[in-house]
């Protein structure tokens, strides 16, 4: 009963799927960060500074626009599953949890759209 009610607010209907998505997004986000930091560090050690021109050269490529947007989406999925786990552990009032999940959903959707605007403006 309790688990079936909780699964409504999970990312998918299945705990196994949520578990898997949280791990696969974690690995891919780590890979993205290593690539991004690698580019920045490489420039920093070759030229001694990080300037706007180089920063924009990176983020103007379609590769970084798309991969950063995917990163933001993965971050939100990953965070949703994490926050769901924390809230279902510590917040026992399902009404309060429902309200919080709704608010977080709205904030996350806004963040995803905001991220798209930032990347393509």
């Amino acid at each position: 009963m309790v688990s079936s009610v909780n699964s409504i607010t999970g990312l998918t209907k299945s705990g196994m799927k949520d578990w898997f998505i949280q791990r696969i997004t974690a690995v891919l986000m780590a890979a993205y960060l290593i690539i991004l930091i690698g580019f920045l560090m490489n420039h920093y050690f070759n030229f001694g500074n990080l300037d706007y021109v180089f920063f924009m050269k990176i983020f103007n490529t379609l590769f970084f626009k798309i991969s950063t947007f995917i990163f933001i989406l993965f971050l939100l999925f990953h965070a949703w599953i994490g926050v769901w786990t924390i809230f279902t552990d510590y917040i026992h009032c399902s009404v309060l949890r429902g309200v919080l999940f709704t608010l977080i959903f709205l904030v996350m959707l806004s963040c995803a759209l905001w991220g798209a605007v930032i990347l393509w403006s």
Partner: protein, 138 residues
């Protein structure tokens, strides 16, 4: 695990269940639990800082002037500096503790001895990383 809370008594036959925050304070944490709860706490901090990450990205990207503003902001605005330090520290700790978690998902580091050693390793590595990030920012 066993709670005297009467609200939980009717669920006694359901096996392991969560313990309340009030109960948690009285527990003496093993080091593995500390690594685990810090992983959770750092993840929650990162979740709260998602709007800050986007704000930084927007500032860095919008113009050369605002890019320079962020760079010089680290020298003038201590809130920006501290928030960035918290963000990077939480990210670093969450990342290395997450790698340990993935190893545990694969069935490694789950014996008492290896769990203890790897937990100490993560705490030390986390501490070193956070200090280095602070040194880099200041």
């Amino acid at each position: 695990m066993v709670s005297k809370n009467s609200k939980n008594n009717k669920r006694n036959n359901l096996g392991p269940r969560n313990i309340s925050l009030g109960n948690l304070i009285r527990y003496c944490f093993p080091i593995m639990a500390i690594v685990s709860i810090l992983h959770r706490a750092s993840g929650f901090v990162l979740f709260l800082l998602i709007p800050f990450m986007l704000y930084l990205l927007e500032k860095l990207k919008s113009s050369a002037a605002s890019f320079a503003q962020v760079q010089s902001g680290f020298d003038h605005c201590w809130v920006l500096k501290i928030l960035t330090w918290i963000l990077l520290s939480a990210l670093w700790y969450h990342l290395i503790a997450g790698v340990k978690h993935l190893f545990m998902d694969l069935g490694f580091l789950e014996e008492k001895e290896s769990a203890k050693i790897s937990s100490i390793f993560i705490l030390i590595l986390g501490f070193i990383g956070i200090v280095l990030l602070g040194a880099w920012l200041w």
